[in-house]
Amino acid sequence: MRRYVALVALVAMSVGFAGAAAAADPELPLVLEKNRWQPDVIKVKAGAPFVLVITNKDKGPEEFDMATPRIEKVIPAGKTVRLKMPALKPGKYPFVGEYHSETAKATIVAE
C-alpha cells in the first residue's frame, strides 16, 4: 500500500514537473500574412525545446512544413496554433508553408 502511494506520488510529481517544464518553454510568435512568414528568421537557443505560436492571418489554411526534423502542422485560416518544437542542435532549420512554398519560406536558427 505504502509503495503504491509512493508510486502515485512519484507519477503525480513527474506529471507536475513535465507541466511546469512545458510552461517554462519559451514561446516565439510566428505570423503568416499574405503567404509570407513573419519573421522569416527566428533565433532560438540550441538544446532547449520551445513553442512556436503560429497565427495564420490569411484566408486559406496553411501547413508549417519542416523537412529535418520532420514537422508538419496545419494552421487553419484565422487560427492560432501552438506548435511544440523539440530541442535543436546549433544550425539552420529551413521551413516552408507547404501550400505556398514559393513565398512562405523562413528559417529557424538555433545557436
Binding site: 501547413e63 529535418t68 526534423p69 520532420r70 487553419p76 487560427k79 518544437m85
Partner: protein, 278 residues
C-alpha cells in the same frame, strides 16, 4: 497551375497506386465481393478527409494543437500494419497458386476478412486526403484574382493520379499472376517501410522520440522538395537527410517483413487461404 497540379498529383498518387494494386489483386483471385468493400472504404476515406479538413477549422486550443498530429500518427501506423497484412496475404495466395491450388481459395473465409480491404482503402485515401482537401481549400480561398488556374491544376492532379491508378489496374490484369504477386508484394513492402520510417520521424518531430543528426545528406543529388524526390519519398520512403532512428526503422522493417514474406517455407495453412483438401 503547374505547381498545384504537381502537389495534388503527388498527394493522390500513393492512394491511387494502392487502390489500383488491390483492385487488380481482387480481380485476379476472383474475390469480387472485395471490390465493393474497397470502393466503400475509399469513399469513406474521401468523406472523412473532407470532414477533417472542415473540422480542423472549427476546433481550437489543445484540440487543434495536438489532435491532428495524433490522428496522423494513428493513421500512419495503422496503414503500415494493414499493408503488411495485405502483402502477407498476397504472398500466401502466391504460394497456393504456385502449387496449382488457385481454385481452392476458400471464398467463404475470404469474405470474412474483406472488411480489412475496405480499411486499407480508407487509410490510403484518408492519410493524404485531409491535407489535399485543405490545400485545395487554401488555393480556392485566394482564387479571386485569376487564381482559378491553380484550382483547375489541383483538380487535374487528382484526376491524373486516378488515371495512373486505373492504368495500374489495367496493366496488372495483363501481368501473369506470378509476376503480379512478386512485383506488388515487394512494392507494397517498400512503401510500408517508407511509411513506417516516416511515422518514426513524426514521433521525433513531436518530441516523443529523441532526435539525432542526419546520417547523410543527398539533397545535392535529389532533394525532398523536387518532383522526383517527392514521388520517390511516397513510393519507397526516400529521404535526403535521414537520421539514425529513421534508417534503423526502415531497415528493420524490410528485414523482418522480408523474412516473414519470402523465407522459404512449405505452403502453410493459415486462416484465409487454407487449401481445402478433398
Amino acid at each position: 497551375m503547374g505547381a498545384t497540379f504537381i502537389v495534388t498529383l503527388r498527394e493522390a498518387f500513393e492512394a491511387a497506386l494502392i487502390l489500383g494494386i488491390i483492385y487488380s489483386y481482387l480481380e485476379k483471385v476472383g474475390a469480387r465481393d472485395g471490390v465493393r468493400y474497397l470502393t466503400r472504404g475509399g469513399i469513406l476515406g474521401l468523406l472523412a478527409s473532407v470532414g477533417m479538413g472542415i473540422g480542423v477549422s472549427y476546433v481550437s486550443g489543445p484540440l487543434l494543437d495536438v489532435g491532428p498530429d495524433l490522428i496522423a500518427i494513428v493513421v500512419i501506423f495503422a496503414a503500415v500494419g494493414l499493408l503488411t497484412w495485405h502483402a502477407w496475404w498476397m504472398q500466401q495466395h502466391a504460394r497456393l497458386i504456385r502449387g496449382h491450388m488457385q481454385h481452392r481459395i476458400d471464398q467463404a473465409r475470404a469474405a470474412n476478412r474483406l472488411w480489412v480491404v475496405g480499411l486499407i482503402a480508407f487509410t490510403a485515401v484518408f492519410r493524404e486526403g485531409a491535407e489535399t482537401v485543405l490545400f485545395l481549400w487554401g488555393i480556392m480561398a485566394q482564387a479571386g484574382g485569376g487564381g482559378w488556374g491553380s484550382v483547375v491544376g489541383g483538380v487535374a492532379g487528382i484526376g491524373c493520379a486516378a488515371a495512373l491508378g486505373w492504368a495500374i489496374f489495367r496493366g496488372g490484369r495483363r501481368l501473369s499472376l506470378q509476376h503480379f504477386f512478386s512485383v506488388t508484394t515487394v512494392f507494397i513492402m517498400l512503401l510500408a517501410a517508407g511509411l513506417f520510417s516516416s511515422g518514426i520521424a513524426r514521433l521525433q518531430g513531436m518530441g516523443l522520440l529523441p532526435l539525432s543528426e542526419p546520417l547523410w545528406n543527398t539533397s545535392w543529388l535529389l532533394s525532398d522538395g523536387s518532383i522526383t524526390g517527392g514521388f520517390l519519398s511516397g513510393l519507397v520512403g526516400y529521404r535526403s537527410q535521414p537520421n539514425l532512428p529513421e534508417v534503423c526503422a526502415y531497415i528493420a522493417y524490410v528485414v523482418i517483413v522480408g523474412v516473414l514474406l519470402f523465407a522459404r517455407r512449405a505452403p502453410v495453412t493459415v486462416g484465409l487461404v487454407s487449401p481445402t483438401r478433398s
